[in-house]
Symmetry: C2
Subunit: 225 residues, 2 copies
């Protein structure tokens, strides 16, 4: 993913580990493939097979995984279990994370049931909304709460991450509330920038319309070539 | 966004326009901000103000917009209407696109109601599912259809783009069906790679768990710095 547009600070991922954001995205994709292979009962895989599954170049995969060399062996491939664990450790997903969701509209409800989050160790502990009509209703097994109980729940559950799926006009005030409550990272689905100067909040934006525009651009530019 | 992991071909966007994928993503974000400013009644904006809204560097914004020089004037800023139109023309969104959605589960239903798509000229013309329990039910104003009518609807509506929100295990076969039906671009929400060798299909992947992992990584690595 593109660092400048999507991360609070272009060099934030370079501080302690020196891994560019683009590589982080690929590591997450390797992890996804490795976990699928592991579930399928495989024990080893060659870099070329990972590359093929993801539509990448073999040399790119080998370069990305070069720091995990102890799990690879020429001709035999990588030890799937060992490599999985090593990537999870780098990514910070070798532990579980308590996550809250703010915004229980259609998108929020869909995100709350997204199985992929759980599979990667992200545990949804509470859902919030500011609409009186939605507060008190159920989202999966959770009862939607008012933002009045935000501080208490964040602190009691040591929550660090929040998924924000509120309308654009509410996103900025919600992110301020989250930061005051002690949240350090936001996955922002609101089609608006929520970062503010001097904030230590880490924000990753997912704008679904931007993704569809990228697709349109790619389709237009692949024609007649 | 990261070109290698998300696009079918790393250099596909370089064929006719020479614009890297990272820049395309930023152009889409500029467009979003310009449209908001236009709705708010503004006519001109300085590059520095755009940069601040998006958390980017002023010089980055000026570099990206340098090819749209005729809409900018030192000290006066950019003409919002002219710049909007010029970016839309580059992005291929100065026209409307007919789009279909495959997969009417929770995520699919949420995506079908996502206002941002419509605002950027993407018109949802049909929703498909393969479950007999879902076919025939309503998603917004549309009745969910069987994939049996895919070819007919794609051809009748000149549909080029599809949003895929099916389970991982169905994604590959669905994308093959879509390509046979004449779809040229897929926005893929299934947590799996659907690209195949020798396919001319353009694929942009959005893996929500990968985004959350990127956030976890960024939070871990911003600590103690």
């Amino acid at each position: 993913m593109e660092p400048l547009a999507n991360e609070k600070s272009p060099n934030q991922t370079n501080r302690s580990q020196n891994i560019p954001v683009a590589t982080v995205t690929r590591l997450a994709l390797y992890l996804r493939e490795l976990q699928q292979l592991k579930r399928a009962g495989l024990q080893r895989i060659q870099s070329g097979a990972i590359a093929k599954r993801l539509g990448l170049n073999d040399s790119q995969v080998r370069r990305d995984l070069s720091c995990f060399g102890q799990f690879g062996q020429r001709g035999v491939g990588y030890n799937i279990a060992g490599l999985t664990q090593a990537i999870q450790s780098i990514m910070g997903t070798d532990r579980s994370w308590n996550v809250i969701l703010v915004g229980a509209g259609n998108l929020g409800r869909a995100l709350s049931g997204y199985r992929g989050f759980d599979q990667q160790g992200f545990r949804l502990v509470a859902v919030f909304d500011c609409s009186d009509e939605i507060i008190g209703t159920k989202v999966g097994k959770l009862v939607v709460k008012s933002l009045d109980s935000l501080d208490e729940i964040v602190s009691a559950n040591q929550v660090e991450l929040a998924i924000v799926a509120v309308p654009a006009e509410a996103a900025s005030i919600v992110s301020q509330r989250l930061e005051s409550a002690g949240i350090t990272g936001i996955l922002n689905f609101a089609p608006v920038t929520v970062r503010r100067p001097n904030s230590s909040l880490t924000v990753v934006d997912v704008d679904l319309a931007v993704e569809l525009q990228r697709l349109a651009f790619a389709v237009v530019n692949s024609k007649g070539s």
